[in-house]
């Protein structure tokens, strides 16, 4: 019952409560009225019964007829009817009250009381002195009570109660509506708060309970807004911990950020590790009214990273929510420190690697420069009597330094630090010079420049590296004649839109077997038993370089025996500017 009641809407329950409360006095009044009526009737009935008995006794041996009835009625002031022993009416003093009919069964020795339509009749047996029943007498009177005989008390009570309930329901419903309305606006305010409208407040009117609820709601909203602000401050503080700016930057940004976000008066970060300063292990409990310093352990991936020491001022209250936010900050700080450490380590390793490669490159290239320069000078001086051996020294030292360069380039391509310097130039003369540096003579080489009117926009040194690698590759794995063509083309060979120069290098060797085509560009792959012994880097590096300049390098279809490699470079049309 109670749970069923509890399930009803609050407004209904409030209405029911008010109706119930209103009905209690009404019911009490009705009960009292009923009791009073009953008491009054009982008394009247007794009187009437007494009178009936007295009349019956008086009429003993008298003639029971209308005259007698009238006489007795006049004598006692009540309506009187008389009946013979068979129960037939012999006379009555008036026709309105006396029923004129005996009750069934007729009263035996004593009397019978009959209530009928607001009239009470008492039937008594008239017995002669010989003890023989001579007939019956009926005394009738209006039913006793506070109301008229026409209106039954029960009906009246039912009417009044019904009307009272209806009126109470109506008033209760209206009142409940009025009383529930502030709760509705409170609920709406909570919903808006929940939806994130932290700046909305309820009006506080008066000093009643509803005002108290509104005020406490407003305090809640204030507290939420304050938490929201501190969360924002903490997130802002976290955002300032940029691990990519290095460990020192993180460590110097963290204290200020934490102080601003949490209102600390002092913040310090100590790193975990052998060099970290010894720190006090006993933390004094927070004494209200005094500043409080306490540590937060910084852990990243389960490893201790350091400790965050913070001091809160005496005026600052420290709640669980603050602690939660501080722990959030600590997690991010720990991750930031760890990332900065790792980042620094990677940078150090990368710099070490670059340093190493620079050193290797320098130590190889410097003597090679000298060797080549001096051999070149000797060849010039001996121009009258050319010595092929000097030319071989020049070519081989150049070759060696190009291979060293390839190794360096691989590491650049891997690290993504290769930034081509884009200039405009005509590729054909560059191809001719690269061929010359290979020292194979003019036989077996043909260069066709079909790109007049166009210049390549690329890194000259890088293109030189690519051309050299393709020519070297063609000589190593293919056979002369080597045919190089430079063409200008838009939309050819499935090239992307835009202007392109395409350089094709075709040899007349065995060609590249279909199965090996994907392997050709893999690093350290050498096909067949070419035996010439390259680094296996040439084509892989060449493709990487071309792609870094925005072009593509691919195996082109070959008409007849041999292989054709092609690469594209962004092109610029020659027009006087």
């Amino acid at each position: 019952m109670r749970s069923a009641l509890a399930r009803l809407p609050y407004r209904t329950r409030l209405t029911l409560a008010m109706v119930g409360a209103a009905l209690v006095p009404l019911l009490a009044l009705a009960l009292a009225l009923g009791a009073l009526t009953a008491a009054m009737r009982g008394e009247a009935d007794q009187r009437l019964t007494g009178a009936a008995k007295a009349v019956a006794a008086q009429l003993s041996d008298a003639t029971l007829d209308a005259a007698t009835a009238a006489r007795v009625a006049a004598q006692i002031g009540l309506t009187v009817a008389v009946y013979d022993s068979e129960g037939a009416l012999r006379g009555r003093s008036d026709t309105t009250l006396a029923s004129g009919v005996l009750p069934d069964p007729p009263p035996a020795a004593a009397h019978a009381l009959v209530h009928r339509g607001g009239v009470t009749s008492v039937f008594a047996t008239v017995t002669g002195t010989d003890g023989v029943r001579e007939g019956y007498v009926e005394l009738a009177a209006l039913q006793a009570g506070p109301l008229s005989a026409d209106l039954d008390v029960g009906t009246l009570l039912a009417l009044v109660l019904g009307f009272g309930i209806a009126l109470a329901l109506l008033i209760g419903w209206v009142l409940a509506r009025v009383m529930v309305r502030p709760l509705g606006s409170l609920s709406a305010a909570v919903s808006r708060l929940e939806a994130g409208h932290l700046d909305e407040r309820l009006p506080v009117e008066g000093e009643d309970e509803l005002a108290a609820v509104a005020a406490s709601h407003n305090r809640l909203a204030d507290a939420l807004a304050a938490r929201n602000r501190s969360l924002g401050l903490v997130l802002g503080a976290i955002a300032e911990l940029a691990p990519n700016r290095g460990l020192d930057a993180v460590l110097s940004a963290a204290p200020a950020a934490a102080a601003k976000a949490f209102g600390f008066t002092a913040v310090s970060v100590s790193l975990a590790g052998p060099e970290s300063a010894p720190r006090p292990t006993v933390v004094e409990d927070h004494v209200p009214g005094e500043p409080w310093a306490f540590p937060t352990l910084l852990r990243a991936a389960g490893e201790p990273v350091g400790t965050l020491w913070t001091t809160i001022p005496p005026t600052r209250e420290w709640a669980q929510a603050d602690q939660d936010l501080l722990e959030l900050f600590a997690i991010e700080l720990a991750a930031g420190i760890r990332n900065a450490q790792l980042f620094g380590e990677v940078e150090r390793l990368s710099e070490t690697k670059s340093e190493f490669l620079r050193g290797v490159s320098h130590n190889l290239q410097t003597p090679l420069t000298t060797i080549r320069a001096i051999a070149g000078q000797l060849a010039e001086q001996a121009a009258a009597r050319p010595d092929r051996r000097l030319a071989i020294i020049v070519e081989q030292s150049e070759r060696l330094s190009r291979l060293v360069d390839q190794l360096l380039t691989v590491s650049r391509l891997e690290a993504g630090t290769l930034r081509p310097k884009i200039e405009v130039f005509a590729p054909a003369p560059l191809v001719a010079r690269a061929w010359e540096s290979l020292g194979h003579g003019d036989d077996g080489f043909a260069l066709r420049d079909e790109a007049s009117g166009w210049l390549a926009a690329a890194d000259r040194d890088r293109v030189d590296q690519v051309v050299w690698a393709l020519l070297d590759n063609a000589m190593k794995y293919g056979h002369p004649p080597i045919a190089v063509t430079v063409r200008a083309g838009a939309g050819m060979d499935d090239l992307p839109t835009g202007d392109w120069l395409v350089v094709t290098v075709r040899d007349h060797g065995q060609g590249i077997p279909e199965d090996d085509r994907s392997r050709v560009f893999e690093r350290f792959s050498r096909l067949g038993d070419g035996g010439a012994g390259g680094t296996g880097l040439g084509l892989s590096v060449a493709r990487g370089l071309v792609e870094a300049m925005g072009g593509r390098l691919w195996i082109a279809p070959t008409d007849g025996p041999g292989a054709t490699l092609a690469f594209s470079l962004p092109a610029e049309r020659i027009e006087e500017a």
Binding site: E351, S354, R358, G359, S361, H362, L364, Q365, T366, P367, L368, T369, T370, R372, A373, I374, G376, Q377, S397, E398, S401, L408, R412, T417, L418, R419, P420, K421, I422, E423, V424, F425, A426, P429, L455, A457, D459, R460, D461, E572, R573, I574, E575, E576, A577
Partner: protein, 256 residues
């Protein structure tokens, strides 16, 4: 070549820790008419500079004690002496970036001697161009910061290639007046690059697309038909065009 010696031969200070290369290069450069002094390391180079001021410095990037970058930085602190750096690394290295800031040019080992000589010639040609080593405001939409190899176009930094920077140096040194195509070709490209006027045309077109707000309607980099090009400040109705402060007043700070 204002700082040439009495003999009229351009003076070069050559710094390299490899004695063979040092001797070879010194010989070749002397053969080609340069007055060459040599130094084996950074400290020795700085002492040589105390004695005599050359027209050009050639420095090896990697040297023990003091590397080429440090030496170049020290030299630039004292005066804007043109520097060519010899290096076994080329562009794309972290050091190469720093190098491009202090060096007029650099050449990658191994190199052909003619290549080096061509670079030397090109750098010396530019000695007459006196452009203050600071931002050059050419109008509300364009500022050139040539020593940082960039232009600021509408507040946005745009990177310039070495060739573009060389052309702009030549043009900025003659701000407002025409520079012939022949001059620009010799400034922009070295003799070994076999450049022809088409290189200049295309490079100018690319440069316009970088520094002009509307490349088809240039206001700064103008063509003088049949002669060459000129760089002009934009018409400045408000008269707010900032003049580079102190430009040319300090002889050691000015000039390329």
């Amino acid at each position: 070549m204002s700082a040439s010696s009495a003999t009229g031969r351009p003076r070069i200070l050559l710094v390299d820790d490899d004695p063979h290369l040092l001797v070879f290069l010194a010989d070749r450069l002397r053969d080609d008419g340069f007055a060459v002094t040599t130094a084996r390391n950074g400290g020795e180079a700085l002492r040589r500079l105390d004695e005599e001021w050359p027209d050009l410095l050639i420095i090896d990037l990697l040297m023990p004690e003091m590397d080429g970058l440090t030496l170049a930085g020290r030299v630039k602190e004292r005066a804007d002496l043109p520097i060519i750096v010899l290096s076994a690394i080329d562009t794309g290295d972290s050091k190469a970036d720093a190098l491009e800031r202090v060096a007029e040019d650099y050449i990658t080992k191994p190199f052909h001697y003619p290549e080096l000589r061509a670079r030397v010639t090109r750098v010396l040609r530019r000695l007459g161009d006196r452009v203050p080593r600071q931002a050059l405001v050419l109008g509300p939409h364009l500022t050139l910061v040539l020593h940082r190899r960039e232009a600021i176009v509408d507040g946005r930094a745009v990177g310039l290639t070495p060739t573009e920077v060389r052309l702009l140096y030549a043009l900025a040194a003659n701000l407002g007046t025409v520079v012939s195509s022949e001059t620009l070709l010799t400034r922009g490209w070295s003799d070994t690059e076999l450049a022809n006027p088409s290189y200049l045309w295309v490079t100018i077109r690319r440069l316009r697309s970088k520094i002009e707000v509307q490349a088809e309607r240039p206001v700064h980099l103008l063509t003088v038909r049949g002669v060459g090009y000129r760089l002009v400040p934009a018409p400045d109705p408000a008269g707010t065009l900032a003049r580079p402060a102190g430009g040319g007043s300090d002889p050691t700070a000015a000039g390329h």
